[in-house]
Amino acid sequence: MIAEAGHFALVLALFVAIVQAVVPMIGAHRGNAVWMAMDKPSAISQVLLVAFAFGCLTYSHVVSDFSVVNVVQNSHSLKPMLYKVAGVWGNHEGSLLLWVFILAAFGSAVALFGGNLPPTLRARVLGVQSLIAVGFYLFMLLTSNPFERVFPPALDGRDLNPLLQDPGLAFHPPFLYLGYVGFSMAFSFAIAALIEGRVDAAWARWVRPWTLAAWSFLTVGIALGSWWAYYELGWGGWWFWDPVENASFMPWLAGTALLHSAIVVEKRDTMKTWTIFLAILAFSMSLLGTFLVRSGVLTSVHAFATDPERGVFILLLLMIVIGGSLVLFAMRGPALRSTGVFKPISREGGLLLNNLVMSTGCAVVLLGTLYPLFLDAVGGTKVSVGPPFFNSVFIPLMVPMFMAMGFGPFLSWKRADIVQAALRLKIAFIVAALAVAAVIALAGEGPFLALVGLGLAAWLVTSTLVELAERVKLFREPLVASLGRLMRQPRASWGMTMAHLGMAIAIAGMAGAGGWKVESIQVMKPGDQVNVGGYDYTFVGARQGQGPNYTIIEGTFRVSKNGQDVVTLKAEKRNYPVRQMPTTEAAIHSLFSGDLYAVIGDPDGQDGGFVTRIYFNPLVAWMWAGSMLMVFGGVISISDRRYRIGAPARRNRKPAVAANP
């Protein structure tokens, strides 16, 4: 019954979405207030219906209803409750249900909190939002119904892929989807603006918080994913340029660009066409990401859906959404008027440079990700495009951008003096040079790129702090006055400072982990000792044990430095009997200078020996600390007063067509 109720709710949601996509749009076109007002009730009933459907599927998973195919294929009666719930979205059908649930939730948020939006804009935004939803409901109901039954019911389930039975990955998809779907807001606002024919500062103020939210969620999602890879895959890697990772990285790059260009629209009333384009790009990349992962077009570590029928449907959806929006963009985009003018060397110019690099980076990742598929499709040779390609084209793009990132905040709007900015930043140059020298002295010569990375990180940290110090007039006014200024800084500028600092710290983490990783692979018997990265690891022994739905071999290592005990590490190797799959749970102890990382492998020989892998991963934790600081910056920025109070009223409400005869 429950599953059928969920299915029924989903069908109802489809019809509500159709109404929401059509009626308010026509209302906005004809200026019919009653038709426009349909947007709010339909958006709210849509989210209630999808929430109900999602609740039904969750219930089926929680009570292990093995008459539902989705539960049979992805759950097991012995699975811990956390993963019974996470199993709801740990599969193709369920993750799509989560996708539309989030989409409907964002839509209802606009309906509820969009009281200060002009009615036509709100009606159009919700209409566009709902058009996307219609596509996804149809996709689910026609090709991927999560509520399908099986008769006779199975006695027990086939369990969730053990790799996904992990706290990091349990919450990875919801955050990723909050990010992907969050960009649908910017997209809907962009399309609505194109239909209305106007983009102004007020528009940018509505779009920015949604974009910031989406970007923050996506950052959390990507960080969780790489953290998971780091400790679960067992060789200390954290980014593989895998197509599925790229699928989440491309919207992040486009979203970062959008975030910055929307500032220019808000403050300076220019770069509008470009901002609209970025909004379309960010969401298109999100859809493409969903498509790449869900259609099975790539068969990779995380892609577990393979079904051509679904692939064709998503491809069609993709073509309609992306193609349609680009056609609309081509038709209406050029008509958008900008008033602000600026020189290439200016704050706007810096932000434009950020946009150029970010979107180029996005295009390059797209090219590398799709190229093998393309070549295969046209019948060319099979090639692999792996990390060496991406590193060699992506990193050179980013190095100048991180340089410019230090300068950007020092440039004034309209026109700026770069020599003067460089003089104010001389301390940052000195700190960067000192940092590189200190690293060479301490860690010995490392790879060139890693040194560059650390230098850039030091440069960026110092320049961001110098900028903050200048803003509060540190040392130029009494300390108390500076402190007062510090407290009165708008939250949006705090957000910028934190996000840029976070980026710098993350760069340091990547450079450290990439450049000075120490690895040791050996067979160890109880009592054996190895020295890795200056730490002595003594293998105490291994024991067997039993988890809720897996068996474990747990190896214990005592770690000491110069005879002083540091920590005891317990690394696990799990075996999930239902799927006959082993997983590794690396034992990790994070220090400021790096991670102690131990993995236990298979038994070797008769005398209690085990294959062990021990790593020292320098600075690697900085990467996630930096990411979290970036997210924190995003959240602080959203809470800025001017977004809470709401966007200023538009100066004139007449449609643009009337204004420019």
Partner: protein, 196 residues
């Protein structure tokens, strides 16, 4: 691809056994077994086969490691650039598939035989094709891939330059609503001369 068809054959065999011609199925089914046993067994078998095809743990084994540390470092370096051809986007250095192990051993054998890094890589390409290279080779089929990024950044720069030029021309039009009179332009010229 030979492996895949083999796996398919195995799958078909198992499903044939379980679901196959109804007569055979019925004769196999003992009366005590409930309805669900066939899907359950089939599921288990599929899960088992899937598990065999991919598991994430532990790549380079201690037994493979060469005694000469310099050669071993070179072997790791080469391995990182070679794709495990049956895996999904994993280098042979990261993969624990049997084939990846064979490939790693092969790399080490070639190194012991005195090959240079490039010779080892060439040897692997001759055996497995360009597909084995994680860094795609530079040839006609990949020109678009390698020149693409340059083209993209070039296009981006072009758009930005056009943007600035057009912007500066419109800004002139906007900030100077009427053309300067002769008198005004003469004075302007004088002023400019003074400044330089």
């Amino acid at each position: 691809m030979a492996d895949c068809s083999g796996a398919q054959k195995t799958l078909r065999m198992i499903f044939g056994f379980l679901y196959g011609p109804s007569g055979a199925g019925r004769s196999l089914r003992s009366p005590g077994l409930p309805q669900w046993w066939r899907p359950a067994v089939a599921g288990l078998v599929v899960a088992l086969l899937l598990a065999l095809s991919f598991s994430p743990v532990l790549a380079v084994e201690p037994s493979e490691v060469l005694d000469d540390p310099v050669l071993e470092v070179r072997a790791r370096e080469i391995s990182k650039g070679l794709r495990c051809v049956v895996c999904q986007n994993q280098s042979i250095d990261d993969s624990n598939a049997d084939l990846a192990r064979d490939m790693r051993v092969l790399v080490r054998e070639r190194l012991l035989a005195g090959d240079s890094n490039d010779q080892v890589t060439d040897y692997m390409v001759s055996r497995y094709g360009d597909f084995v290279l994680l860094n795609p080779p530079f040839k006609v089929a990949t020109y678009a891939l390698w020149f693409g990024p340059l083209l993209i950044i070039g296009l981006g720069l072009f758009v930005v330059v056009v943007f600035y030029r057009r912007r500066s021309s419109t800004s002139v039009a906007e900030t100077t609503p009427a053309a300067l009179s002769n008198e005004e332009s003469r004075r302007l010229e004088d002023l400019m001369k003074d400044e330089t």
